[in-house]
């Protein structure tokens, strides 16, 4: 990097900074998704503890709840994506949540590594740029 001109260094730093920001966004998205899955898993666990026939309030809209009774808590519908839902048992449902959480965690770790590497490159480019600018300044 030492051999590049000030212009090139600026371009490299800007490009890498952009990439780091994109990676940070992705990391945030994964964290949000993992939190949602954790909530789903907790809700499932809670549901499995409830007895059949238990009275409950069913949300029809965000502000309208209707009284109902819990039917079979052993069957759950899982959203697997692209509009497909699968009926699973409580155990399978919990397993699904666990699997997804593991997948997301490993993606998160991979991305984190990539983001740190890019950040190092961006910081290095910034440092070399500063050094070069300082070199040029005292001459004027």
């Amino acid at each position: 990097m030492e051999k590049m001109s000030v212009e090139q260094l600026k371009a490299v730093k800007e490009q890498t900074d952009l990439e780091v920001n994109l990676l940070q966004d992705s990391l945030n998205n994964i964290r949000t998704a993992t939190t949602r899955l954790d909530l789903a898993s907790a809700a499932l666990h809670d549901l499995s503890l409830r007895p059949q026939g238990k009275k409950m309030l069913v949300p029809l809209t965000a502000s309208l709840y209707v009284p109902g009774t819990l039917d079979d808590a052993n069957k759950v519908l899982v959203d697997i994506g692209t509009g497909y839902f699968v009926e699973k048992t409580m155990v399978e449902g919990k397993d699904y949540c666990e699997r997804k959480i593991h997948l997301l965690k490993s993606n998160y770790d991979q991305l984190l590594e990539l983001a740190s590497k890019k950040k190092t490159v961006a910081d290095e480019a910034g440092a070399v740029l500063q050094a070069k600018l300082k070199q040029l300044a005292p001459q004027t």
Binding site: L77, G81, T82, Y84, F85, V86, E87
Partner: protein, 130 residues
């Protein structure tokens, strides 16, 4: 001797080529966006396929069509998702070919613009000397 008309003509040529270049670059950017969308869809569909393959023969599969959950046959769901994956992969390949072609055009336009710029510079230098 360089006439102002020749310089003007070169400038017009430069403008035209520069406009063409920026249009090609916009097309490349659009291509990238569509490609991103398709890649995301492909990933999601592959996840769905994996889940479907883990199911037992008699498991119930439902598809959300508008506000309605419709019961679907597992084999049919598998076939649908597979077909979708094939379609998306074909689209991605097509986009790949297009973007390669666009990048070649971009490079040759860049060279053409550079050449016109060089000729203009030579002309103007010639004018200055005379």
């Amino acid at each position: 001797m360089a006439s102002p008309a020749a310089v003007r003509e070169l400038q017009r040529d430069l403008e035209n080529k520069a406009n063409d270049l920026s249009k090609i670059q916009k097309d490349i950017a659009k291509n990238h966006q569509v490609r991103k969308k398709y890649t995301i869809q492909l990933g999601e569909n592959e996840l769905v396929l994996k889940e479907l393959e883990l199911l037992k023969e008699d498991a119930n599969v439902y598809k959300l069509i508008g506000p309605v959950l419709v019961k679907q046959d597992l084999a049919e769901a598998n076939a649908n998702v597979r077909k979708r994956i094939e379609y998306i992969s074909a689209e991605l390949k097509r986009l790949d070919a297009i973007v390669q072609d666009l990048e070649e055009k971009q490079n040759s336009k860049r060279e053409a613009v550079l050449k016109v710029q060089q000729r203009m510079q030579a002309l103007q230098a010639g004018k200055a000397k005379a």
